[in-house]
Amino acid sequence: MSAQRCPELDELFDAVVAGSGDALEHALGCEACSAVLEEHRQMEKDLYRVVDPLPPPDFVQSVMTRVAEAPVPLRRELTAGFGILGGSAALAGLVLARDPQVLDRVGLAFARVLVDGQAFVPRLLSALVTVWDAAGFVGIAACSTLLFGSLFGLKRLSGEPTISEA
């Protein structure tokens, strides 16, 4: 046993980390301090043998169910939207660059749409009036339901496959 007073443990540990120091030198000659350090070494060996427990068997499935139910982050939706928009614009630019006459044809087609559209609007209104006269509110409601149902279905189809489809 060393004649010196034993250092505080914090002091001893600091010396161990540093690899030198009065406290460490003391410990080398002190039975009590050496015993403490030896216990720590043994405990480290035991601690290294401990392993993490396994999560429940359905853990990943539960996580993915929650992920599927969670709303898509707005930023991701915006990124995808702008990505599609940018891609379309780039494609259009590429087509125009390869064949400048396309622009003429697009202009003509656009003008034709405008001209035809002027005739289309009264015809559409006339058709709606006819449908209203023939089927009334029920017919309009059924057509609207069909239209919105189809749009909703398309939106769902364009999304990621669900977990059950994986």
Partner: protein, 193 residues
């Protein structure tokens, strides 16, 4: 200070993170499978309750999925998720108002090491069990640093990144935690603290 973490040569999660960011849930599922055990393990050691640990670990992955756009993919994905898990666990621990000492009893079995090696002797298993029982009586910070360093074999820099502290403080924390553990192990059976 964070060089070892930042300069990790292999970034195996990068492709999966990129795919998951685009909304590919299969890629995210692969990420979850890759890190579920350490995340659940940390939650269990911090919360000492298997149901809460599973719930918080699930919440961790949900938060990670929703915050993937903010993840810096130059850093280890696992450490990022562990940091989220840690914060959620600490939030829950803060919210706990009643003493949880009664929950420690079932932890004796729950935290039993599940090492698959056949050659583990019965004596060694018992020693580990008692070690884990003693670990479960430590404070959350001590349990955390011991679990990350010894159980998950993480470097002090990685632990510092998860805990949000300076790497230089980790060894001191480890020593203190180990010393508390040593004293707990020396206490007679049934005496807690």
């Amino acid at each position: 200070m964070m060089m070892a973490v930042d300069d990790a040569p292999a970034l195996p999660w990068r492709d999966e993170v990129a795919a998951a960011r685009k909304g590919n849930r299969h890629a995210f599922e692969a990420l979850v499978r890759g890190v579920q055990r350490p995340v659940y393990g940390l939650c269990l050691r911090l919360l000492a309750n298997d149901a809460e640990a599973a719930e918080v670990a699930q919440e961790t992955f949900l938060r990670a999925y929703q915050a993937l756009d903010r993840f810096d993919e130059a850093r280890p994905f696992e450490l990022w998720v562990l940091a989220i898990a840690r914060n959620l666990c600490l939030d829950l621990l803060r919210r706990r108002t009643r003493a949880r000492t009664e929950d420690l009893e079932p932890m004796k079995e729950l935290l039993a090491s599940q090492a698959p090696s056949q050659e583990d002797a019965a004596v060694a298993r018992e020693e580990r069990l008692s070690l884990e029982q003693a670990m479960a009586t430590l404070g959350a910070e001590d349990r955390e640093v011991l679990a990350l360093y010894y159980v998950q074999r993480r470097t002090t820099k990685e632990i510092a990144a998860v805990m949000g502290v300076a790497p230089g403080t980790i060894m001191a924390r480890l020593f203190r935690a180990r010393e508390k553990l040593r004293r707990r192990m020396q206490q007679p059976e049934g005496e807690s603290r």
